[in-house]
């Protein structure tokens, strides 16, 4: 694997900054929990940058949030500390990005049409599984709530929003990929290897 070049450092930093700037933005849902763009930004970084650079970009984002920037939103409303009740949902993002980026770059990136979209959705669904498993595990451990109650509090209200976010990311990734390919053909090709 190629080591980091200056360009890839700037790339990861810029996407981390994008995550920070867009995550607090929310779209109100009638009668439900607002959709925040938080995990949308995470998956966007994963699908555009691939497993390695996506992982690093999201790791930088989580690191910034870990020191208290209010760049996390949604889920159970935890903010700041990764060791809190909802910290597991946040700490799992770099790994969700790693998994989603890997699956998409390996199976879906060079496809066309419906297959491409299907692969994007599958990659994001599997990434979401990582997020919920880690997040719920930590939530249950720290609060000692039952599994059922934890699912109801932390997962069920957020599923509709999460699905809509995946649709949003699936819509905009192909457009942005064209720009990415012209600028970062070499780096992303090596990331794919």
């Amino acid at each position: 694997m190629k080591k980091f070049t200056v360009k890839t450092i700037v790339l990861c930093a810029m996407f981390a900054a994008l995550c920070c700037a867009t995550a607090p933005i929310s779209i109100p849902l009638p009668g439900g929990v607002p959709i925040t763009l938080q995990t949308a930004a995470v998956f966007l970084a994963a699908l555009l940058l691939g497993p390695l650079y996506g992982f690093v970009a999201v790791l930088v984002y989580v690191l910034l949030g870990a020191v208290g920037l209010p760049v996390f939103a949604g889920f159970s409303g935890g903010i700041g500390s990764l060791v809190g009740m909802s910290g597991g949902f946040i700490m799992s993002w770099p790994f969700a990005a790693l998994l989603a980026g890997f699956i998409y770059f390996k199976f879906g990136r060079n496809k066309k049409g419906v297959v491409k979209y299907a692969e994007m959705i599958v990659a994001m669904l599997l990434g979401s599984v990582v997020i919920y498993v880690v997040g719920l595990t930590q939530f249950i451990f720290l609060t000692k709530m039952s599994i059922q109650a934890s699912l109801l509090a932390c997962m069920v209200p957020f599923i509709p929003g999460d699905l809509l976010k995946m649709v949003l990311v699936a819509i905009i990734v192909p457009v942005l990929e064209k720009a990415m390919k012209s600028i970062f053909a070499d780096e992303l090709a090596s990331a794919n290897a």
Partner: protein
């Protein structure tokens, strides 16, 4: 758009600590506060938090936006826990003491209120310390601190760059959003969900594209100035450790030890006054 964070250049004894010290202390303090539900210890940390906040010369108006933001999610979480697990406190503390003549599944109990008190104390113990770190640490010095504690300078410099460009991207978002709305894009509650998703993509695509566009220029500027040619680098903003740094880290490590010892003494993470 209000800036989500900002370094406040108003020198104090907290400002003089190195970023590495403040980062380590922040982590130790957070682990100590989040690792136990002992009310007495959390109250002590809360008072300490507020005192340090004052020592750092931070004013409430400096951080009111972030506090408001945090409060919304604290309230939301409190409501959700109560709705889905209203007898959580009862399960933890082992007794049931109904209040206000209520009973049944949603009956309010003293144990549940006590549990929520502890939960809120965790946040009052940690949020002022977090805000203190943000407001008293120069972003450039923070990157130097990360490098000092072993993070490679590529990664720590990514952090510095990300910090540098967050305000730019926020400004870009604001401009793009206003430009879109001037052309008829509707983002408010009046529009349907589908239209709002379309509006979101109409803003996100140009936002990402303008950010990508800048990467080439930034990269070339950095390389022309010799960035990345060596395995190590010096830091202009770096600070040396002083006595105050060591004392601060020792005190915070002591707090973590106390937190762990209290868990042992209480027979678990919960201090139970209902026994």
């Amino acid at each position: 758009m209000t800036n989500l964070f900002n370094y406040i250049d108003r020198p104090s004894r907290i400002h003089n600590l190195t970023g590495a010290t403040k980062l380590i202390c922040l982590l130790l303090w957070s682990f100590a506060a989040m690792g136990t539900y002992d009310t007495r210890f959390l109250a002590l940390l809360s008072i300490g938090s507020i005192v340090l906040f004052y020592i750092g010369h931070i004013h409430l108006k400096d951080v009111s936006f972030m506090l408001g933001f945090t409060m919304v999610f604290l309230v939301l979480n409190t409501i959700l826990v109560y709705l889905f697990s209203p007898h959580h406190g009862t399960e933890i503390y082992g007794t049931t003491t109904y209040l206000f003549g209520m009973s049944g599944h949603f009956g309010l109990t003293a144990e549940q209120l006590f549990y929520h008190l502890n939960y809120w104390l965790k946040y009052t113990a940690t949020i002022p310390i977090i805000l203190l770190f943000i407001c008293t640490t120069n972003p450039s010095e923070f990157a130097a601190s990360l490098n000092r504690i072993g993070v490679s300078y590529s990664i720590s410099y990514s952090v510095s760059l990300a910090l540098r460009y967050i305000p730019d991207i926020q400004r870009q978002y604001d401009e793009i959003s206003k430009a879109s709305q001037a052309r008829g894009v509707e983002m408010s509650k009046k529009a349907s969900i589908i239209k709002r998703l379309q509006s979101a993509s109409a803003i996100l695509i140009p936002l990402v594209l303008t950010s990508i566009d800048r990467i080439e220029g930034i990269t070339n500027a950095m390389e022309l100035r010799g960035f990345g040619k060596n395995k190590k680098r010096t830091w202009y903003m770096g600070k040396k450790f002083k006595a105050a740094d060591y004392v601060s880290m020792i005190v915070c490590a002591g707090l973590l030890v106390i937190s762990i010892m209290l868990n042992i003494h209480n027979g678990g993470r919960f201090y139970n006054p209902f026994k």
